[in-house]
Amino acid sequence: MKKQVFLFLFLLVFLFSCKKQQEYSETRFLMDTICEIKVVSDNEKFAKKVLDETFKEVERIDKVFGYSKDSEVEKINSFSGVKPVVVSSEVFSLIKKSIEISENTDGAFDITVGVLSDIWGFKKFSQEKNFVLPKKEEIKKALSLVGYKNIKLDEKKQSVFLTKRRMEIDLGGIAKGYSIMRTKEILEKNNFRNFLINFGGDIYVKGKNKDGKPWKVAVQHPRNKNEFLTILNLTDISIVTSGDYERYFVVDGERYHHIFDPKTGYPKNGIVSVTILHSDSTIADALSTGIFVLGEKKVRDVLKKYNFEYIIVKEENGVLKTFVSPGLKNFVKSE
């Protein structure tokens, strides 16, 4: 009788003695935004060690692609129209990928809008005191320097050449997505199977949350900070949103935001928010900008090149209209 009792208790304790999976997170201020990583683990010490290692990598990427004088991107810009600049394979690959996405979005995504960011005051957005509208002549002059076809890549020498003097590339529309993918690689290399990476609202989720369910990710309502457009159940996918409500200024009641139409030199009007779901954050990041510029009518052209889901919100006469891809309903949280 004692042996049966013992066996029963042994089984009971065995079932419950496994260490409880906890969620460990760390948040840091990098790339001019809040970067958060959540991992599900039963080992707190190991989780924190890996989170620290991961953030060191994000810091490194921030320095490589950022606006500081030491960054490779600023070096390319400073020699525009002068000579090609030999860069690391990492920078070369990302610029090459950016050009490929430019070709697939008919130029709607274009990293050479750096000069537009500059004249509109978005390059050092956080330090700007007074936003002043650039003059038409300034915009026209800057537009002559915009165009991804003026980036010359030499695969053999691994060099980048901006053919026109004072051309500027800005990798802000793709670097965050890239840093998320690098973070994902490090976490996977350390055998984490369940995590959420959130860099300034660009998110990648893997596996399940600590309750064993798909990660619940809400999409911000573009006009009401206290509301969500929708809540999605996600796993093993990236979700990136570009909106006109995060970086903007208002002059005479008119909103001017940071997503430019490379063809006009002005912030793209009409679309207020684009959300893209794709397995690769680098592509999702770039596409969210590209589709924002293209709009809902041309999104199908891009769907032929990339497999993604989308939510597009457009504003017409003060009324918001939402366009979603057919496959998105598979991710919507059931009430």
Binding site: K2, K3, V5, F6, L9, F10, L12, V13, F16, S17, K20, T27, R28, F29, D32, T33, I34, E36, K38, F125, S126, Q127, E128, K129, L196, N198, G201, D202, I203, V205, N209, D211, W215, K216, V217, A218, V219, Q220, K225, F228, I231, I239, V240, T241, G243, E246, F249, T275
Partner: protein, 127 residues
């Protein structure tokens, strides 16, 4: 009725193993209880220069004086009350009271977040 007299109980190895497993079970139950209490309340965390400078329950009213900014916790909400930054996006964010909302001041390298179990169970917000 037979009465057993002079009954001597001898402990066996199974008794010790049984006690050991019962102790593990008790310890697990305690942890479960501890974590369920721990996650009940929202906690405000304020960071400057990537270092945590304040951490306390959202239910505790407070004024936190930072370098070039003041954070206010009141009535289960938190906001950036004052900031030296030029465009005051952080101040204009207003009060926040949910774990998925944040206040960021880029020039002063400050961010304010709320930790705790979310309503609607949202793990993150794409914006």
């Amino acid at each position: 009725m037979e009465v057993r007299k002079n009954f001597v109980y001898k402990k066996t190895i199974f008794d010790y193993i049984l006690i050991f497993f019962l102790l593990i079970l008790a310890s697990y139950s305690f942890q479960l209880l501890f974590y369920s209490f721990k996650n009940d309340n929202y906690v405000v965390e304020v960071y400057q220069d990537n270092k945590i400078v304040y951490r306390d329950f959202l239910s505790k009213d407070n004024l936190i004086h930072l370098r070039n900014a003041v954070v206010e916790v009141k009535n289960n909400k938190v906001r950036m009350k004052e900031s030296s930054c030029p465009y005051k996006f952080c101040v204009n964010t207003g009060w926040i009271d949910k774990p998925y909302k944040q206040i960021v001041c880029v020039p002063n390298k400050i961010y304010v977040k709320i930790s705790g179990k979310t309503t609607q169970g949202v793990d993150g917000v794409s914006y």
